[in-house]
Symmetry: C2
Subunit: 234 residues, 2 copies
DNA sequence: AGGGCTTTGTGAACGCGTGCACATGCGTGG
DNA sequence: CCACGCATGTGCACGCGTTCACAAAGCCCT
């Protein structure tokens, strides 16, 4: 067996699904369910059952053949693997609309995270209260990060300020960044960055909408002869 | 050649990168750049240059060998492919913190979308102004969708109301849903759904943070003898 | 006008993730 | 106490996406 800290690496695709299982198991647990099968989890997560089993097998053999998984125990193991046995303080850069929304987000503190600080460049906003946390000036970022031992930063600035915000976070000692600004950011090697961009998401939807529209138009015109040549529809 | 509307299918992975190229090309265009190479795009998007070329080749052969791509023309083609030659009206369900932030989001209307309506269950919020749009009651959703020919809906409700919001959107005739609520939603076949969950993103970061912390701890203890047996570090 | 330089477009190999199918092993009932 | 049934855990094959490497092709300079 490998030592517990040198745990076998978990595929990124699996890491991205574990939080989904976690949420869903939490709900089931609250609903009083104590045991659950991979089939049921798959149903709730809208994925393949074999995938669920393989994902969970990366954590260890925590199921019982012929029975299923103990919900509470599984919750514990997933939390453990995701590093959620502790609460992570998070600092938010940008106290505008988005920053305020994120700070006040329900599924924030309820899931292993807490707002360790909010900073903004606008000295007008400094001192105001956002979701129970007082806004600090961005100059105090490094102090804030050091004092609260923060390693996760959230960028909620306008796009133009995103890279500067990210640089400031890195300089302050943060090692993971979640970027909500509509502008890609770059960070030194060793820093984990995740981008969430509203307009990117909408544009992906737009693409699929257009495809659908084109398909509809094609269907309407299908009766027109002469287009011939067409092969089988796969 | 295939007919223009029956365009060869573009891989989903590519569709998810096109908006990134679009944003970055827009910035370059504004900065006065007229020509750009796949290498430069790759640099800016932090991806492999070959990937950029293959992605762009799905749109057609719009580059010039030995020279690169015409920024403006490429912008046009990407917009065309993503369905951004038109403005898409979007309806937002939920006028809370998050809904307000999304409605007021800068990179929203500037990128081919406009807020066609905001609805909420809370009759107290109905009639108030959010980002220049008046909040309607959720009962008026279907009328709103029909009147403005809306096909994209955004869910910005609490988690507990997410599925109901999605159901209402589907019933109203929307065919693409972007879900920001911290709860997975299901929709009938044929409806495109994308999930964006803050806590999922944070939990992924948490996982990587913990790995880093474990790695650091292992490095600190490395001098301790007796663990022997270990082989090569891959 | 032609050769060389540069960058695209793409064939082919590789690697990862997915899904099937089944052996393994645990609980249960007779 | 043993046999049966059921869900897990996983070897294997398949398919998609990524990356390399190079041939095709346009432009510039001599």
């Amino acid at each position: 067996m490998t030592s517990r800290s040198g745990r076998r690496r978990i595929p990124e695709a699996t890491v991205e699904r574990l939080p989904v299982y976690l949420r869903l198991l939490d709900e089931q647990f609250d609903a009083g369910v104590t045991r659950i099968s991979s089939e049921e989890i798959a149903e709730l997560a809208a994925v393949n059952a074999a995938k669920v089993r393989k994902d969970l097998s990366y954590l260890g053999s925590y199921g019982t053949r012929g029975v299923g998984y103990e919900v509470e125990f599984l919750l514990y193991q997933i939390k453990r693997e995701l590093g959620l046995m502790q609460e992570w303080p998070v600092v938010i850069v940008g106290a505008g609309n988005l920053g305020q929304a994120l700070a006040g987000y329900g599924g924030f503190m309820q899931r292993g995270f807490l707002v360790g600080g909010i900073v903004d460049v606008d000295s007008e906003k400094v001192g105001t209260d956002v979701g129970g946390v007082t806004v600090s000036h961005v100059d105090e970022l490094a102090g804030l990060v050091a004092a609260n031992d923060i390693s996760i930063g959230v960028v909620a600035t306008p796009g133009s300020a995103a890279q500067a915000a990210a640089d400031a976070l890195v300089a302050a000692g943060v090692s993971s960044i979640l970027n909500f600004a509509p502008h890609g950011i770059t960070a030194p090697h060793g820093i984990t960055v995740r981008e969430v961009d509203l307009s990117v998401e909408l544009q992906i939807l737009s693409y699929h909408e257009q495809r659908r529209a084109n398909a509809r138009r094609a269907a309407t015109l299908r009766a027109v002869p002469g287009a011939g040549r067409g092969g089988q529809v796969s």
